[in-house]
């Protein structure tokens, strides 16, 4: 990518960041804040999914690691009195740690078979949350999860505005990290594996190690997202992290566009926004999502990023 584009991108991101930062001054209603938080969280977790997808593995059990982060963070802060920021970090780390052995076993499998297997694995983990009542609270879940603490003042979060800034702060970090990885040599390695793993092995790359690295990093991000979710909703249960949750993230990334980094952001924003617009037609929302997904797959497989690039080209002519 040439430097002119990089600079443009940087300016664009800074403007966007500024807008996000000052938005609550103009729109302080809870509804707006909730929507933005929902979008930001979805973007964060989808970025984690994208990282894993860069090596060519479609993870249909992504929500399970989100759940792991959520439960670890919730339980350690609730039962062990860990400060929330530490619990969240722990949640992400445990997700990454558990992802490693799982990755070593399952990442040997490629493509569609891995997708099926990851779906099964996501279910197993969700069932473990449901069954292991002693630890995870079973089907009724964990409630009374402590809210995060505002730095310096020491008071717990008392309004949506606090959560707003926290999620965008986290999103900012994750955005930078994933963007950085993707444009670095490491990201090139990920892509090389997804494009031609035989050749990549021949040039001396240990494919399994690199795939596991991407899997762990992506699961860490999912764990952080899950932890945030836990301390935001203050209540979690196994059904929050089902196959359907994972499928939603797949939906986001596909509609946004799998070939482009910004697809991981466009997808969630577009779909959650759309869902919000149609909130009065509650039952029709999944129907619309399904149609959008199929339309994208059939007519613009590059997703919304491809679509917007085409529109941009047409306009600038």
């Amino acid at each position: 990518m040439n430097t002119k584009n990089r600079k443009l991108e940087l300016v664009f991101i800074m403007i966007l960041g500024l807008l996000v930062f000052i938005a609550p001054l103009f729109y302080s209603d809870l509804y707006f804040l909730s929507l933005m938080i929902k979008m930001a969280l979805a973007c964060l977790i989808t970025l984690g999914l994208r990282l894993i997808f860069l090596t060519g593995q479609l993870n249909m059990g992504h929500a399970a690691f989100m759940g792991l982060g959520a439960y670890v963070s919730a339980l350690t802060s609730l039962n062990l009195g860990l400060p929330v920021w530490m619990a969240m970090l722990l949640g992400g780390s445990v997700s990454a740690l558990i992802a490693a052995p799982i990755g070593f076993v399952t990442l040997r499998i490629k493509g569609a078979y891995f997708a099926i297997v990851s779906m099964g694995l996501g279910e197993i983990i969700r069932l473990i949350y449901t069954r292991w009542e002693g630890l995870f609270g079973g089907a009724s879940g964990v409630f009374g999860i402590p809210a995060p603490i505002i730095p310096i003042s020491g008071a717990p979060f008392s309004g949506k505005i606090h959560y707003y800034y926290l999620i965008f702060f986290l999103l900012f970090l994750v955005f930078l990290a994933v963007r950085r990885i993707e444009t670095s040599r490491l990201g090139l390695l990920f892509k090389a594996i997804s494009l031609n793993d035989d050749l990549t092995r021949s040039v001396g790359v240990n494919i399994m190690n690199v795939k596991v690295i991407s899997f762990c990093l992506g699961s860490f991000i999912a764990g952080i997202g899950g932890a945030y979710y836990a301390h935001y909703l203050l209540f979690i249960s196994p059904n929050d992290f089902s196959f359907w949750t994972s499928a939603n993230y797949i939906l986001y990334i596909v509609v946004g566009g799998v070939g482009n980094f910004y697809g991981a952001l466009l997808g969630p924003v577009f779909l959650i926004g759309l869902g919000d617009l149609l909130i009065s037609l509650r039952e029709y929302v999944p129907l619309v999502f399904g149609i959008v997904l199929i339309a994208i797959m059939k007519f613009r497989p590059g997703g919304l990023t491809e679509l917007s690039a085409q529109i941009w080209n047409k306009i600038s002519r």
Binding site: I124, L287, G290, I294
Partner: protein, 296 residues
Amino acid sequence: MSQGQLFVQVILNGIMSGMILMLVVLGLTLVFGILHIVNFAHGEIYMLGAYVFWLLFGKNIISIPGPPVIHYILALIVTMIIIAAFGVLIERLFFKSFRGNLLPSMIISLGIILILQAGALIVFGIQERSVKSVFSGTLNLGGTYLSAERVAVIMAGVTLFVAVYLFIQRTFTGRAMKAVAQDADAAALQGINIDRICSLGMAIGCALAAAAGALLAPIFTINPYIGGEPLLLGFAAIIVGGLGSIPGSIVGSLLIGLVQSFGSTFLDSEAAMIIVFGLLVVMLVLKPTGLWGHEH
């Protein structure tokens, strides 16, 4: 009920679950083998089969003279035909351009799940529906009592399975399907109409799933979300038995049906599922392609 009786009931339930699962899995395997796509919406086809059967038989929107058993069988057959046609429609509209592309077909099928589930919710509502059973009472088999309904389901399942098996092995069209599954290009060169065979494969696959849903309709209640479990269990059976393998499908389905039955009865349903999926993990570690599977 005595310990022995309980045991027999559990095995019977397990075989029945396994049988139903086998129909679902056979359908999935057929579609995968012939069209080389993965259809996650297969569970929703099962669900639609249950609803259509309910419309035809439970709600009696078309009244057919004669004993209830005839009505039952006719409703079953008509359900299968309707859903088979529906499946062909879906195949032509959505899957045709993705034949052979596993991942994209999966993603598209996710979209189809959303549409079908939401559609069912809108059209039929969230209330649980039920269908009265035609076969009441129990059969006495050498001292043990077996639910007539469950026996009927098993027999129907076996009949369908054998029918499809014979069709594939003995008829010209069936062998054409095998040819397309093995090598579509070579089959096309031999003059086989690939589109028609693919549609037929989809039709049969969906008919089987619909039959599974319809057969279970009198036993369990119907709601728009019943497609989820057969899908997950079906894939578990496929992972254990091996994708694309028919003997694997049989063994995998029966195994999972029995484990589920025993688990649910002697432990609880979640523990049963954990064991099922635990089997999956063991299989993945030892032989990722399943008992009968082969690497593609």
